[in-house]
């Protein structure tokens, strides 16, 4: 591992740019790929280069299917979680998401809620939710969770999130609240396919009641969607209706 290559890799990681260190396991030669630029002593033909770019996009390290003597180590920036609403649930969700490896960005224009006393270790993003989300540019490695219970704040956030490739979009609220929300968003010109992306009521059906439990339900659902796991179908708590999410407490 050449020192210059390692330093370039670290610089890319600090700048939060997706990168991959590619190693030929037969002779130890390496290349670093950052933003489609290659450096290092390992040459890659167009086919292998495309395979490396695909691995970066899929966030998947491992030997290449095209040549299993070539190992691709993907160093992507952290997954991001944008939470809209500096509410009680967020106080549980933020540290949990950070433990799970997310960079958390908090959006809430209400300074009484969004302040460093309530949220000491999180980036507070200025602005109304739509402009804040536009500035953050949610990508396919970003989750957006909308928790304010206030349509003035939730709806503008969802309007922007639904026009982004965010991998997860969730909104707090009961089925009834969510139904009204969908009607409002239809009025904003959003189509059914977009609206169907919202996880609402938010969270897996684990019978969550307290803010911390609802945070667990949300993070579990984000994880499920991220990894494409199939929905849970067993171990429903006794006495709970089918399909009931964390909505009982929403």
């Amino acid at each position: 591992m050449k020192r210059a290559l390692l330093e370039a890799l670290q610089a890319a990681r600090r700048a939060k740019r997706p990168a991959a260190l590619v190693t030929d396991l037969r002779d130890g030669q390496q290349a670093l790929i950052v933003d489609s630029d290659r450096q290092g002593d390992l040459a890659l033909d167009a086919g292998l280069f495309a395979a490396v770019e695909a691995a970066i996009q899929a966030d998947r390290s491992g030997p290449l299917a095209e040549d299993d003597g070539i190992f691709v180590h993907v160093f992507n920036p952290p997954l991001r979680l944008i939470t809209v609403g500096a509410v009680h649930i967020s106080q549980a969700l933020v540290p949990m998401a950070q433990l799970a490896g997310y960079e958390v960005l908090m959006v809430d224009p209400r300074k009484a809620w969004a302040n460093t006393e309530r949220f000491p270790d999180v980036t507070l993003v200025e602005g109304w939710p739509d402009e804040a989300l536009r500035s953050l540019q949610p990508d396919h490695r970003t989750a957006v969770v909308v928790l304010t219970h206030d349509p003035k704040l939730d709806d503008p956030a969802l309007t922007v999130a639904l026009r982004s490739p965010a991998f997860y979009i969730g909104a707090l609220g009961s089925r009834k609240t969510h139904g009204k929300r969908l009607d409002r968003l239809r009025g904003e010109g959003l189509e059914e396919a977009a609206l169907a992306r919202i996880h609402g009521p938010i969270g897996l059906a684990i019978g969550a009641k307290s803010p911390a439990e609802i945070a667990i339900a949300i993070l579990a659902q984000m994880t499920q969607v991220l990894h494409g796991a199939s929905p849970l179908v067993k171990a429903r708590p006794p006495g709970q209706r089918q399909g009931q999410g964390a909505e009982a407490a929403q």
């Binding site: 591992m1 390692l6 330093e7 190693t23 396991l25 992507n76 950070q98 490896g101």
Partner: protein
């Protein structure tokens, strides 16, 4: 069992630590899990760093093969070329190193120049 770090980020920055050790004038080797089959305690991309004083950070297994990896790393820090190691139940060595959890893993060990 070693603490499971997230797939993508958030974990302690082992490569930064490797560079720090190098700056202190030590030889440093990096071991990386490059592939796994069956049940493996650590995912692909997991790393262990070691220096010439046998300081260790990170892990490539739940502790079962670290000894063998460090043994190889010492030769590599002393100037041998990087090496691909394989551990598995079909391998006689697997019993010696105790990877009895039923998995097979390949680990690439290289020096930081």
């Amino acid at each position: 069992m070693a603490k499971q770090e997230p797939i993508t980020a958030g974990a302690a920055d082992l490569l930064a630590e490797a560079l720090r050790w190098r700056d202190e004038g030590h030889s440093v080797a990096v071991a990386t899990v490059v592939s796994t089959w069956g049940s493996s305690p650590r995912p692909v991309g997991s790393q262990l760093i070691v220096d010439d004083q046998l300081r260790l950070q990170g892990s490539v297994s739940g502790g079962c093969i670290e000894g063998a990896v460090v043994h190889e790393a010492q030769a590599i820090m002393a100037g041998a070329p990087g090496k691909l190691l394989e551990f598995g139940v079909s391998d006689e060595q697997a019993w010696e190193v105790g990877l009895a959890c039923g998995g097979t893993i390949r680990v690439f060990v290289e020096a930081v120049e």
